[in-house]
Protein backbone atom coordinates (compact mmCIF):
# COMPACT_ATOMS: atom_id res chain seq x y z
CA UNK A 1 0.00 0.00 0.00
CA UNK A 2 2.83 2.32 0.96
CA UNK A 3 4.64 1.54 -2.32
CA UNK A 4 1.50 2.30 -4.30
CA UNK A 5 1.10 5.62 -2.48
CA UNK A 6 4.76 6.59 -3.17
CA UNK A 7 4.31 5.71 -6.85
CA UNK A 8 1.15 7.81 -7.01
CA UNK A 9 2.94 10.79 -5.42
CA UNK A 10 5.88 10.39 -7.84
CA UNK A 11 3.64 10.19 -10.93
CA UNK A 12 1.50 13.13 -9.86
CA UNK A 13 4.54 15.30 -9.09
CA UNK A 14 6.07 14.41 -12.50
CA UNK A 15 2.80 15.26 -14.21
CA UNK A 16 2.68 18.55 -12.32
CA UNK A 17 6.24 19.35 -13.36
CA UNK A 18 5.56 18.61 -17.03
CA UNK A 19 2.38 20.68 -16.82
CA UNK A 20 4.40 23.58 -15.41
CA UNK A 21 6.99 23.11 -18.18
CA UNK A 22 4.23 23.24 -20.82
CA UNK A 23 2.92 26.43 -19.24
CA UNK A 24 6.43 27.92 -19.28
CA UNK A 25 6.83 27.03 -22.97
CA UNK A 26 3.47 28.64 -23.67
CA UNK A 27 4.66 31.76 -21.84
CA UNK A 28 7.80 31.81 -24.01
CA UNK A 29 5.71 31.58 -27.19
CA UNK A 30 3.48 34.36 -25.89
CA UNK A 31 6.54 36.55 -25.25
CA UNK A 32 5.86 36.45 -21.52
CA UNK A 33 9.39 37.16 -20.42
CA UNK A 34 11.65 40.17 -20.26
CA UNK A 35 15.18 40.40 -21.55
CA UNK A 36 17.76 43.13 -21.00
CA UNK A 37 21.47 43.68 -21.47
CA UNK A 38 23.54 42.56 -18.48
CA UNK A 39 26.99 43.58 -19.69
CA UNK A 40 29.34 43.35 -22.64
CA UNK A 41 29.89 39.64 -23.25
CA UNK A 42 33.15 38.14 -24.41
CA UNK A 43 33.82 38.07 -28.16
CA UNK A 44 30.93 36.33 -29.96
CA UNK A 45 28.55 36.25 -26.99
CA UNK A 46 25.73 38.32 -25.50
CA UNK A 47 25.35 38.61 -21.76
CA UNK A 48 21.66 39.09 -20.96
CA UNK A 49 19.41 39.06 -17.94
CA UNK A 50 16.15 37.21 -18.53
CA UNK A 51 13.10 37.58 -16.30
CA UNK A 52 10.89 34.48 -16.56
CA UNK A 53 7.52 33.74 -14.91
CA UNK A 54 6.36 30.44 -13.45
CA UNK A 55 4.56 29.03 -10.43
CA UNK A 56 7.52 26.72 -10.05
CA UNK A 57 10.76 28.57 -9.24
CA UNK A 58 12.96 25.84 -10.71
CA UNK A 59 11.12 25.93 -14.03
CA UNK A 60 11.51 29.71 -14.19
CA UNK A 61 15.26 29.30 -13.85
CA UNK A 62 15.60 26.56 -16.48
CA UNK A 63 13.22 28.39 -18.83
CA UNK A 64 15.55 31.43 -18.70
CA UNK A 65 17.96 29.72 -21.12
CA UNK A 66 15.19 29.08 -23.64
CA UNK A 67 13.86 32.60 -23.21
CA UNK A 68 17.33 34.09 -23.71
CA UNK A 69 17.81 32.35 -27.09
CA UNK A 70 14.18 33.08 -28.07
CA UNK A 71 14.63 36.74 -27.18
CA UNK A 72 17.89 37.13 -29.08
CA UNK A 73 16.38 35.59 -32.22
CA UNK A 74 12.98 37.30 -32.25
CA UNK A 75 12.84 40.16 -29.82
CA UNK A 76 16.23 41.81 -29.35
CA UNK A 77 16.90 43.36 -25.97
CA UNK A 78 16.97 46.72 -24.28
CA UNK A 79 20.09 48.42 -22.96
CA UNK A 80 21.09 48.57 -19.35
CA UNK A 81 23.50 50.86 -17.60
CA UNK A 82 26.08 52.90 -19.50
CA UNK A 83 27.98 50.82 -22.00
CA UNK A 84 25.30 48.17 -22.09
CA UNK A 85 23.64 48.61 -25.45
CA UNK A 86 20.28 47.57 -26.80
CA UNK A 87 20.57 45.01 -29.60
CA UNK A 88 18.24 44.25 -32.49
CA UNK A 89 16.89 40.69 -32.98
CA UNK A 90 18.81 38.36 -35.29
CA UNK A 91 15.83 38.00 -37.60
CA UNK A 92 14.44 40.94 -39.53
CA UNK A 93 11.35 39.08 -40.73
CA UNK A 94 8.56 39.55 -38.14
CA UNK A 95 6.67 36.49 -39.48
CA UNK A 96 9.59 34.08 -39.45
CA UNK A 97 8.33 32.24 -36.36
CA UNK A 98 5.16 31.10 -38.11
CA UNK A 99 6.80 30.70 -41.52
CA UNK A 100 9.42 28.28 -40.12
CA UNK A 101 7.25 26.83 -37.36
CA UNK A 102 8.47 23.28 -37.85
CA UNK A 103 12.12 24.28 -37.47
CA UNK A 104 11.51 26.29 -34.31
CA UNK A 105 9.31 23.61 -32.69
CA UNK A 106 12.18 21.12 -32.74
CA UNK A 107 14.76 23.85 -32.02
CA UNK A 108 13.04 24.90 -28.79
CA UNK A 109 11.79 21.49 -27.60
CA UNK A 110 13.06 20.23 -24.23
CA UNK A 111 16.78 19.50 -24.63
CA UNK A 112 16.58 20.93 -28.18
CA UNK A 113 19.33 22.55 -30.20
CA UNK A 114 18.94 25.88 -28.41
CA UNK A 115 20.91 24.43 -25.49
CA UNK A 116 24.04 24.44 -27.68
CA UNK A 117 24.31 28.23 -27.54
CA UNK A 118 23.52 29.03 -23.96
CA UNK A 119 25.09 28.85 -20.54
CA UNK A 120 23.91 30.16 -17.21
CA UNK A 121 26.35 32.69 -15.83
CA UNK A 122 25.31 32.49 -12.22
CA UNK A 123 25.36 28.67 -12.02
CA UNK A 124 21.90 28.54 -10.49
CA UNK A 125 22.65 31.09 -7.75
CA UNK A 126 19.94 33.69 -7.98
CA UNK A 127 20.37 36.99 -6.21
CA UNK A 128 17.65 37.62 -3.61
CA UNK A 129 16.61 40.81 -5.41
CA UNK A 130 16.17 38.82 -8.63
CA UNK A 131 13.56 36.49 -7.11
CA UNK A 132 10.11 38.04 -6.72
CA UNK A 133 6.64 36.73 -6.07
CA UNK A 134 4.12 38.34 -8.42
CA UNK A 135 0.63 37.12 -7.52
CA UNK A 136 0.76 33.33 -7.58
CA UNK A 137 3.83 33.24 -9.80
CA UNK A 138 7.55 33.70 -9.36
CA UNK A 139 9.36 36.28 -11.43
CA UNK A 140 12.99 35.25 -11.54
CA UNK A 141 15.89 37.06 -13.18
CA UNK A 142 18.78 34.93 -14.44
CA UNK A 143 21.95 36.12 -16.14
CA UNK A 144 22.64 34.06 -19.23
CA UNK A 145 25.47 34.05 -21.75
CA UNK A 146 24.45 33.25 -25.35
CA UNK A 147 26.93 32.38 -28.13
CA UNK A 148 25.28 34.69 -30.64
CA UNK A 149 27.89 34.28 -33.38
CA UNK A 150 27.47 30.49 -33.40
CA UNK A 151 23.68 30.88 -33.20
CA UNK A 152 23.65 33.32 -36.13
CA UNK A 153 25.90 31.10 -38.25
CA UNK A 154 23.72 28.03 -37.66
CA UNK A 155 20.52 29.97 -38.42
CA UNK A 156 22.13 31.30 -41.61
CA UNK A 157 23.20 27.78 -42.63
CA UNK A 158 19.64 26.53 -41.99
CA UNK A 159 18.26 29.29 -44.21
CA UNK A 160 16.31 30.93 -41.39
CA UNK A 161 18.09 34.29 -41.62
CA UNK A 162 20.04 35.90 -44.46
CA UNK A 163 23.75 36.39 -44.05
CA UNK A 164 25.23 39.87 -44.56
CA UNK A 165 27.01 38.72 -47.71
CA UNK A 166 24.17 36.68 -49.24
CA UNK A 167 23.33 37.74 -52.79
CA UNK A 168 26.85 39.05 -53.45
Amino acid sequence: MKKLFTLFILISSLAGFSQAQKKADKATNQWKYEIECAGIGTDGTYLVKVWSYSKNGKIAITQAKKNAVHGIIFKGFSGGERGCNAQKPLTTNPNIESEKEEFFLSFFEEGGKYMKYVSESTDGNIDASDRMKVGKEYKIGVIVSVSKDALRKDLEAAGIIRSLSSGF
Partner: protein, 319 residues
Protein backbone atom coordinates in the same frame (compact mmCIF):
# COMPACT_ATOMS: atom_id res chain seq x y z
CA UNK B 1 12.41 11.80 -83.02
CA UNK B 2 12.59 15.49 -84.01
CA UNK B 3 10.15 16.29 -81.21
CA UNK B 4 12.41 14.58 -78.63
CA UNK B 5 15.44 16.56 -79.89
CA UNK B 6 13.43 19.80 -79.55
CA UNK B 7 12.36 18.92 -76.01
CA UNK B 8 15.97 18.10 -75.10
CA UNK B 9 17.13 21.45 -76.52
CA UNK B 10 14.45 23.35 -74.60
CA UNK B 11 15.37 21.50 -71.43
CA UNK B 12 19.08 22.29 -71.88
CA UNK B 13 18.33 25.96 -72.54
CA UNK B 14 16.08 26.10 -69.48
CA UNK B 15 18.81 24.47 -67.34
CA UNK B 16 21.46 26.96 -68.57
CA UNK B 17 19.10 29.87 -67.90
CA UNK B 18 18.15 28.54 -64.46
CA UNK B 19 21.75 27.80 -63.42
CA UNK B 20 23.00 31.22 -64.58
CA UNK B 21 20.13 32.92 -62.74
CA UNK B 22 20.56 30.89 -59.57
CA UNK B 23 24.29 31.49 -59.35
CA UNK B 24 24.56 35.07 -60.62
CA UNK B 25 25.66 37.33 -57.83
CA UNK B 26 25.28 41.09 -57.49
CA UNK B 27 28.44 43.19 -57.49
CA UNK B 28 29.73 43.26 -53.96
CA UNK B 29 30.41 46.74 -52.60
CA UNK B 30 33.82 47.38 -51.06
CA UNK B 31 33.90 48.75 -47.52
CA UNK B 32 36.75 50.67 -45.92
CA UNK B 33 37.21 52.19 -42.47
CA UNK B 34 38.47 55.76 -42.48
CA UNK B 35 39.27 57.83 -39.38
CA UNK B 36 36.88 60.82 -39.41
CA UNK B 37 38.08 64.39 -39.98
CA UNK B 38 37.09 65.38 -36.44
CA UNK B 39 39.14 62.51 -34.95
CA UNK B 40 42.18 63.44 -37.11
CA UNK B 41 41.80 67.10 -36.10
CA UNK B 42 41.50 66.48 -32.35
CA UNK B 43 44.44 64.07 -32.42
CA UNK B 44 46.72 66.33 -34.47
CA UNK B 45 46.76 64.40 -37.73
CA UNK B 46 45.99 67.26 -40.13
CA UNK B 47 48.03 68.84 -42.92
CA UNK B 48 47.58 72.49 -43.73
CA UNK B 49 48.15 74.04 -47.14
CA UNK B 50 47.49 77.31 -48.87
CA UNK B 51 44.78 77.04 -51.51
CA UNK B 52 45.00 80.39 -53.36
CA UNK B 53 45.04 82.40 -50.16
CA UNK B 54 42.70 80.20 -48.14
CA UNK B 55 44.23 77.90 -45.54
CA UNK B 56 42.83 74.40 -45.95
CA UNK B 57 43.24 71.51 -43.50
CA UNK B 58 43.08 67.93 -44.72
CA UNK B 59 43.67 64.69 -42.79
CA UNK B 60 47.11 63.10 -43.01
CA UNK B 61 46.08 59.44 -43.12
CA UNK B 62 49.59 58.12 -43.70
CA UNK B 63 50.75 59.74 -40.45
CA UNK B 64 47.71 58.29 -38.62
CA UNK B 65 48.61 54.73 -39.60
CA UNK B 66 52.30 55.22 -38.90
CA UNK B 67 51.89 56.71 -35.44
CA UNK B 68 48.60 55.71 -33.81
CA UNK B 69 48.41 52.26 -32.25
CA UNK B 70 44.82 52.60 -30.99
CA UNK B 71 43.41 53.04 -34.48
CA UNK B 72 45.12 49.85 -35.58
CA UNK B 73 43.48 48.00 -32.66
CA UNK B 74 40.02 49.28 -33.57
CA UNK B 75 40.32 48.76 -37.33
CA UNK B 76 41.74 45.27 -36.98
CA UNK B 77 39.00 44.31 -34.51
CA UNK B 78 36.22 45.58 -36.81
CA UNK B 79 37.94 43.92 -39.77
CA UNK B 80 38.01 40.56 -37.97
CA UNK B 81 34.33 40.79 -37.01
CA UNK B 82 33.27 41.83 -40.52
CA UNK B 83 35.34 39.04 -42.12
CA UNK B 84 33.51 36.56 -39.88
CA UNK B 85 30.25 37.89 -41.35
CA UNK B 86 31.55 37.23 -44.89
CA UNK B 87 32.43 40.87 -45.56
CA UNK B 88 36.19 41.39 -45.31
CA UNK B 89 37.01 45.10 -45.43
CA UNK B 90 39.45 46.96 -47.63
CA UNK B 91 42.38 48.08 -45.47
CA UNK B 92 43.09 51.78 -45.89
CA UNK B 93 46.72 51.57 -44.83
CA UNK B 94 47.43 48.88 -47.44
CA UNK B 95 45.42 50.78 -50.09
CA UNK B 96 47.61 53.87 -49.53
CA UNK B 97 50.78 51.76 -49.80
CA UNK B 98 49.56 50.08 -53.01
CA UNK B 99 48.81 53.48 -54.57
CA UNK B 100 52.29 54.73 -53.71
CA UNK B 101 53.93 51.60 -55.10
CA UNK B 102 51.85 51.80 -58.29
CA UNK B 103 52.75 55.45 -58.76
CA UNK B 104 56.49 54.67 -58.37
CA UNK B 105 56.17 51.77 -60.84
CA UNK B 106 54.35 53.97 -63.38
CA UNK B 107 57.11 56.58 -63.16
CA UNK B 108 59.79 54.00 -63.86
CA UNK B 109 58.00 51.94 -66.52
CA UNK B 110 58.88 52.66 -70.13
CA UNK B 111 58.71 50.78 -73.40
CA UNK B 112 61.70 49.94 -75.60
CA UNK B 113 61.01 53.11 -77.61
CA UNK B 114 61.04 55.15 -74.39
CA UNK B 115 57.26 55.70 -74.10
CA UNK B 116 55.94 56.01 -70.54
CA UNK B 117 52.57 55.02 -69.04
CA UNK B 118 49.76 57.30 -70.25
CA UNK B 119 48.04 59.18 -67.43
CA UNK B 120 45.64 62.09 -67.83
CA UNK B 121 45.11 64.71 -65.09
CA UNK B 122 41.73 63.10 -64.34
CA UNK B 123 43.45 59.70 -63.87
CA UNK B 124 45.75 61.36 -61.32
CA UNK B 125 42.86 62.90 -59.38
CA UNK B 126 41.07 59.54 -59.27
CA UNK B 127 44.09 57.78 -57.78
CA UNK B 128 43.01 57.87 -54.15
CA UNK B 129 42.16 55.13 -51.66
CA UNK B 130 38.45 54.60 -52.25
CA UNK B 131 35.61 52.22 -51.49
CA UNK B 132 31.89 51.98 -52.22
CA UNK B 133 31.00 52.29 -48.55
CA UNK B 134 33.12 54.33 -46.16
CA UNK B 135 32.89 53.63 -42.43
CA UNK B 136 33.85 56.82 -40.64
CA UNK B 137 35.32 56.07 -37.26
CA UNK B 138 35.39 58.51 -34.36
CA UNK B 139 36.05 58.09 -30.66
CA UNK B 140 36.80 60.32 -27.76
CA UNK B 141 38.24 59.33 -24.39
CA UNK B 142 36.53 60.97 -21.44
CA UNK B 143 37.88 61.13 -17.91
CA UNK B 144 35.92 61.99 -14.77
CA UNK B 145 38.25 61.75 -11.76
CA UNK B 146 40.01 58.38 -12.03
CA UNK B 147 37.26 56.91 -14.24
CA UNK B 148 37.80 56.65 -17.97
CA UNK B 149 35.20 55.97 -20.65
CA UNK B 150 35.06 55.98 -24.43
CA UNK B 151 32.48 57.72 -26.60
CA UNK B 152 32.40 55.75 -29.85
CA UNK B 153 30.79 56.53 -33.25
CA UNK B 154 30.62 54.41 -36.42
CA UNK B 155 29.02 55.96 -39.51
CA UNK B 156 28.56 54.04 -42.77
CA UNK B 157 28.35 56.41 -45.75
CA UNK B 158 27.51 55.48 -49.33
CA UNK B 159 30.36 57.06 -51.32
CA UNK B 160 28.17 57.97 -54.29
CA UNK B 161 24.89 59.14 -52.81
CA UNK B 162 26.53 60.57 -49.64
CA UNK B 163 23.72 58.99 -47.64
CA UNK B 164 24.32 57.55 -44.18
CA UNK B 165 23.27 53.94 -44.56
CA UNK B 166 24.25 52.62 -41.11
CA UNK B 167 25.41 54.04 -37.81
CA UNK B 168 26.07 53.06 -34.21
CA UNK B 169 27.14 55.23 -31.34
CA UNK B 170 27.29 55.31 -27.56
CA UNK B 171 29.40 55.80 -24.46
CA UNK B 172 30.94 52.78 -22.79
CA UNK B 173 30.79 52.00 -19.08
CA UNK B 174 33.32 54.11 -17.08
CA UNK B 175 36.21 52.11 -15.69
CA UNK B 176 38.90 52.72 -13.04
CA UNK B 177 41.35 50.14 -14.27
CA UNK B 178 40.76 49.22 -17.92
CA UNK B 179 43.20 50.59 -20.45
CA UNK B 180 42.04 52.52 -23.51
CA UNK B 181 42.58 49.65 -26.03
CA UNK B 182 40.41 47.39 -23.84
CA UNK B 183 37.67 50.04 -23.66
CA UNK B 184 37.88 50.48 -27.43
CA UNK B 185 37.59 46.74 -28.03
CA UNK B 186 34.55 46.64 -25.77
CA UNK B 187 33.02 49.55 -27.71
CA UNK B 188 33.52 47.72 -31.01
CA UNK B 189 31.90 44.55 -29.60
CA UNK B 190 28.99 46.58 -28.24
CA UNK B 191 28.27 48.46 -31.48
CA UNK B 192 29.23 46.34 -34.45
CA UNK B 193 26.09 44.14 -34.45
CA UNK B 194 23.72 47.10 -34.53
CA UNK B 195 25.81 48.62 -37.30
CA UNK B 196 25.66 45.39 -39.30
CA UNK B 197 21.90 45.08 -38.74
CA UNK B 198 21.45 48.46 -40.46
CA UNK B 199 23.89 47.52 -43.20
CA UNK B 200 21.85 44.36 -43.79
CA UNK B 201 18.69 46.48 -44.05
CA UNK B 202 20.41 48.64 -46.67
CA UNK B 203 21.40 45.55 -48.69
CA UNK B 204 17.87 44.10 -48.37
CA UNK B 205 16.48 47.37 -49.72
CA UNK B 206 19.02 47.26 -52.55
CA UNK B 207 17.98 43.72 -53.54
CA UNK B 208 14.31 44.71 -53.46
CA UNK B 209 14.39 48.16 -55.06
CA UNK B 210 17.67 48.16 -57.01
CA UNK B 211 21.02 49.85 -56.49
CA UNK B 212 20.83 53.59 -55.87
CA UNK B 213 23.15 55.57 -58.15
CA UNK B 214 23.82 59.11 -59.34
CA UNK B 215 23.82 59.99 -63.04
CA UNK B 216 25.24 63.18 -64.55
CA UNK B 217 24.83 64.36 -68.11
CA UNK B 218 27.27 67.04 -69.34
CA UNK B 219 28.37 68.42 -72.70
CA UNK B 220 31.71 69.27 -74.21
CA UNK B 221 32.32 72.94 -75.08
CA UNK B 222 32.99 72.11 -78.70
CA UNK B 223 29.59 70.49 -79.32
CA UNK B 224 27.15 72.73 -81.13
CA UNK B 225 24.08 71.06 -79.65
CA UNK B 226 22.74 71.20 -76.09
CA UNK B 227 20.15 69.52 -73.90
CA UNK B 228 17.41 71.81 -75.23
CA UNK B 229 18.00 70.69 -78.83
CA UNK B 230 14.75 69.38 -80.33
CA UNK B 231 14.26 65.90 -81.78
CA UNK B 232 10.78 65.18 -83.14
CA UNK B 233 9.44 68.13 -81.17
CA UNK B 234 10.97 66.98 -77.88
CA UNK B 235 13.90 68.42 -75.91
CA UNK B 236 16.94 66.12 -75.65
CA UNK B 237 16.68 66.43 -71.85
CA UNK B 238 13.14 65.00 -71.95
CA UNK B 239 14.28 62.15 -74.20
CA UNK B 240 17.04 61.28 -71.70
CA UNK B 241 14.59 61.53 -68.80
CA UNK B 242 12.18 59.17 -70.60
CA UNK B 243 14.97 56.62 -71.16
CA UNK B 244 15.90 56.71 -67.48
CA UNK B 245 12.24 56.38 -66.39
CA UNK B 246 11.84 53.37 -68.69
CA UNK B 247 14.97 51.57 -67.52
CA UNK B 248 14.98 52.17 -63.75
CA UNK B 249 13.39 49.82 -61.18
CA UNK B 250 9.73 50.89 -60.85
CA UNK B 251 10.69 54.11 -62.69
CA UNK B 252 12.30 55.52 -59.54
CA UNK B 253 14.59 58.53 -59.93
CA UNK B 254 14.74 62.25 -59.20
CA UNK B 255 15.76 64.92 -61.69
CA UNK B 256 17.65 67.22 -59.33
CA UNK B 257 19.09 69.63 -61.91
CA UNK B 258 18.41 70.32 -65.57
CA UNK B 259 19.89 73.15 -67.61
CA UNK B 260 20.83 73.42 -71.27
CA UNK B 261 24.33 72.14 -70.44
CA UNK B 262 23.93 69.68 -67.60
CA UNK B 263 21.52 67.30 -65.92
CA UNK B 264 21.74 65.60 -62.55
CA UNK B 265 19.70 62.53 -61.64
CA UNK B 266 19.72 61.37 -58.03
CA UNK B 267 18.16 58.40 -56.25
CA UNK B 268 18.23 56.50 -59.54
CA UNK B 269 17.35 52.89 -58.76
CA UNK B 270 18.97 50.54 -61.26
CA UNK B 271 18.42 46.78 -61.54
CA UNK B 272 21.23 44.63 -60.10
CA UNK B 273 21.35 42.49 -63.26
CA UNK B 274 21.27 43.46 -66.93
CA UNK B 275 19.17 41.85 -69.68
CA UNK B 276 21.81 39.11 -70.05
CA UNK B 277 21.51 38.43 -66.33
CA UNK B 278 25.00 39.73 -65.58
CA UNK B 279 25.62 41.78 -62.46
CA UNK B 280 25.67 45.45 -63.37
CA UNK B 281 26.60 48.86 -61.94
CA UNK B 282 26.21 52.53 -62.86
CA UNK B 283 28.53 52.25 -65.86
CA UNK B 284 26.85 49.09 -67.15
CA UNK B 285 23.44 50.74 -66.78
CA UNK B 286 24.48 53.92 -68.61
CA UNK B 287 26.06 52.00 -71.47
CA UNK B 288 22.47 51.50 -72.65
CA UNK B 289 21.86 55.27 -72.70
CA UNK B 290 25.24 55.82 -74.36
CA UNK B 291 24.29 53.52 -77.25
CA UNK B 292 20.77 54.97 -77.42
CA UNK B 293 22.14 58.50 -77.94
CA UNK B 294 24.95 57.40 -80.25
CA UNK B 295 22.58 55.70 -82.70
CA UNK B 296 20.09 57.26 -85.13
CA UNK B 297 18.00 59.38 -84.97
CA UNK B 298 20.10 61.27 -82.38
CA UNK B 299 23.63 60.31 -83.56
CA UNK B 300 25.30 62.14 -80.65
CA UNK B 301 28.88 60.96 -79.98
CA UNK B 302 29.48 60.78 -76.25
CA UNK B 303 31.92 59.73 -73.55
CA UNK B 304 31.05 57.59 -70.52
CA UNK B 305 33.09 57.87 -67.34
CA UNK B 306 32.48 56.23 -63.99
CA UNK B 307 33.23 56.46 -60.30
CA UNK B 308 32.93 53.08 -58.58
CA UNK B 309 29.68 51.15 -58.62
CA UNK B 310 27.37 54.07 -58.05
CA UNK B 311 28.23 57.13 -60.12
CA UNK B 312 28.58 57.63 -63.86
CA UNK B 313 28.75 60.61 -66.21
CA UNK B 314 27.88 60.88 -69.89
CA UNK B 315 29.54 63.81 -71.66
CA UNK B 316 27.85 64.66 -74.93
CA UNK B 317 29.52 65.90 -78.13
CA UNK B 318 32.74 63.91 -78.42
CA UNK B 319 34.24 60.53 -77.55
Amino acid sequence: MKKIVNIKKTLALFTIFFVSFAFSQAKKPTIMIVPSDVWCNTNGYMMEFDNQGTKVKIPNYKKVFQENMDIKTVISKINTLMAERGFPLKDMESAIKTLEAESAENNLTSSKTGAGIAESPIDKIKKVAKADIIIQLTWETKQVGPKKSVNFILQGIDSYTDKQIAAAQGTGAPSFSAEIPVLLEEAVLAHVDNFNAQLQKHFDDMFENGREIIVRIKKFNGWSGNLEKQYDGQDLSVIIEDWIAKNTVKGRFNTSDATENTMLFEQVRIPLYDSKNRATDARGFLRGLQDYLKNAPYSIPNKLTMKGLGQAVIILGEK
